[in-house]
Amino acid sequence: MPENISIRIDGEYVAAQEGQTILEVARAGGKYIPTLCWLAGTSSVGACRLCIVEVSGVGRLLPACTTPVQDGMSVTTTSEKLTQYRRIAIEFLFSERNHVCAVCVSNNHCELQAMAQKLGVTSVRYPYAYPKLGVDVSHPRYVLDHNRCILCTRCVRVCTEVEGAHVWDVSGRGIRSMIVCDMNRPWAQASSCTNCGKCVQVCPTGALAEKGFAVDEMVKQDHNMTRLTARRGGHS
């Protein structure tokens, strides 16, 4: 049995169990921490840095989704500093790739766009990288547009951990990281793909979308995913 411990979140005492992450404890206690790469039912990777929190006695900001709680820990989830850093994280995501909301299939149904609005990001202060990236339209039903990918790896995790196919992975390092299909083949040639579409439905942006949807039309059907993952024990 995991040991019961107690931590403070924004000054309030909250009951927790050893092995839980700050995010899990905060969510259970009704505390909101913004997330983008986190996906219910899959492992956490701390990729997006939106769930960063302040922990007393620790000089740097820590991602709530991957940091385990410790007895007596005191966590701050909301502060001016955190908001600033979360905005920066969003701005970096926008500047890294070619996110053009106005002509995106996921416009108005995009988690990145919604999060930017929620955090009050009205402009990007960093120069855009404008990388020249391709669009994989080879699959008969789905499209992968690297221009809109934020490397959250939700697709990688849902495909590996829920579907059990492990079609997706990440190649390269740092800013050159790219989502790849099987051993970096066009999607249509990925022999491991079961065409289930889970990756498409959990993708927070228009990077993975169903084919034939025009601008604004791609509404992700992630409620099926919630049902699926709810049946998996051990994960929330």
């Binding site: 106005a102 391709g134 669009v135 339209v137 034939g212 025009a214 601008v215 039309e217």
Partner: protein, 471 residues
């Protein structure tokens, strides 16, 4: 040699510059109309899924995004090899008419009315929409109201006024609500009255512009436009037809996909705007014009009673083939009326409320061409895709492009007639700008290109010295 520079040319859509060369006696020897922007839509859309093209190419223009959306959606229909359901076609036609109303209202009232109603020689500081509001508030209000009416129809149909994502490959993405239909119908009589009143007024002032009418781009050219099989004017879906300057039909019943047999494009050394020409004659003699005046010259009738009555009067005044670019204004006002009549016809068709408004398919053809009449003339979107639907190649020919050679010739004619380098007055240069305005060019569209300031006029003397710049 001296040189006059109009830079930028104002009250047009997009950015251009005009150079006017003078000899020692102050007479105009040559002119150059430069379009100074480059945008690159044909290149950077390569690789995109074809069904994203309507939304992307709509961004070419904020005045006529609906035209690009429709031409693009028609090219996509051709790639999918589907016909949109009848209600989808009618709704596309309806939004297209609304676009004509708002765009023509903008061109006439906001951009050209200051010249026509305040005078070509009036104080340039007041020769704009604000001066118009001061001097002729009723006319300014009519312009604002008509543009608003057109924009509100677009908003009612598509939920967005600019760049609506409602127009999609295969049709439109939502049916028309009967409440919206009734609201538009309720607003129609007032809009009709404004259009009719403006046209009546315009006819009364025409006589003041005899010199402009006689010298604004009067060189006879060929004309191109879309017509239906009976020769009636078509804005949304017709077959391309060319008439020569004398009015003889030289090519007709041209389906969209065959446009390349008739239209060639020449690149120009000093402009980002290419110069399309009529291929059987070749460059540079194959000059043809498109747009409101061209449509009136190419089509036999409008097919709506009031517009046809006005067309008959127009032809009675000026004959069956009218060449003066000044009459683009007249033609535009008649078309404005036709647009409002056509909106009424479409809304009273019970089919317009049908819920089946979209056909779906994936790639069935590797090439698609969409041709429509934009407010400024024939608009062509031509795409090639691979089997998976990724764009491989794009060609866009935009209305103002077709008129490029004719605008150049018109600028020269107006400059030669009106400009006297020895007794120089600002109003002379304004007439040069005004003939460009008569074509209502959309230069940002025609180059699908990246931004710079608006149209500039440069007047240079024989030694190359700049005498004057406007803009």
């Amino acid at each position: 040699m001296r040189k006059l520079v109009i830079d930028p040319v104002t009250r047009i859509e997009g950015h251009a510059k005009i150079d006017i060369y003078l000899d020692d006696a102050g007479h105009v020897t040559d002119t150059h109309f430069h379009v100074t922007q480059m945008r690159g839509f044909e290149k950077f859309t390569e690789g995109r899924p074809f069904y994203e093209m309507p939304a992307i190419t709509a961004r070419i223009c904020g005045i006529c995004p609906v035209s690009h959306l429709l031409a693009s959606a028609k090219a996509c229909d051709a790639i999918m090899a589907v016909a949109p359901p009848p209600a989808g076609v009618k709704l596309r036609e309806l939004i297209h008419c609304a676009q004509f109303v708002q765009s023509h209202a903008l061109s006439f009232f906001h951009l050209s009315a200051p010249d026509l109603l305040l005078g070509f020689d009036s104080d340039p500081a007041h020769r704009n929409i604000f001066g118009l509001i001061e001097q002729n508030p009723d006319m300014a209000r009519a312009g604002v109201a008509l543009r608003k009416f057109g924009q509100e129809i677009i908003q009612g149909l598509a939920q967005e006024r600019v760049h609506p994502s409602w127009i999609v490959p295969g049709g439109v993405n939502a049916p028309l609500d009967s409440g919206v239909r009734d609201r538009i119908l309720a607003g129609l009589p007032a809009a009709r009255a404004l259009a009719e009143r403006t046209l009546a007024y315009f006819k009364t002032v025409l006589d003041q512009f005899e010199e402009e009418i006689a010298n604004f781009g009067t060189a006879p050219t060929m004309y191109a436009g879309l017509v239906d099989p009976s020769g009636g004017l078509q804005w949304y879906d017709g077959l391309l037809k060319f008439r020569d300057a004398a009015g003889a039909t030289v090519a007709t019943d041209i389906p969209a996909r065959d446009y390349t047999q008739y239209i060639g494009e020449a690149a120009m050394r000093d402009s980002y705007l290419k110069a399309p020409y009529y291929k059987p004659i070749g460059y540079p003699d194959g000059v043809y014009r498109v747009g409101p005046l061209a449509r009136l010259n190419v089509a036999d009738m409008f097919g709506t009673p009031e517009a046809d009555r006005e067309l008959a009067e127009f032809r009675q005044r000026y004959g069956p083939m009218v060449h003066s670019a000044f009459h683009f204004h007249y033609a535009r006002l008649i078309e404005l009326l036709h647009g409002l009549e056509k909106i009424e016809v479409l809304l009273n068709d019970p089919e317009i409320l049908n819920k089946h408004v979209r056909s779906r398919a994936s790639v069935n053809s590797l090439e698609g061409v969409g041709v429509i009449e934009a407010p400024r003339g024939v608009l062509i979107h031509h795409y090639k895709v691979d089997e998976e639907g990724a764009i491989k190649w794009v060609n866009l020919i935009v209305a103002t492009g077709h008129n490029n050679l004719a605008i150049n010739a018109s600028v020269k004619q107006v400059a030669q007639h009106f400009i006297d380098g020895e007794h120089f007055k600002e109003g002379m240069l304004n007439r040069v700008s005004a003939v460009v305005r008569a074509y209502d060019p959309c230069l940002s569209c025609s180059t699908h290109a990246n931004g710079m300031p608006a149209l500039q006029l440069v007047l240079r003397g024989p030694d190359g010295r700049v005498i004057s710049t406007e803009g």
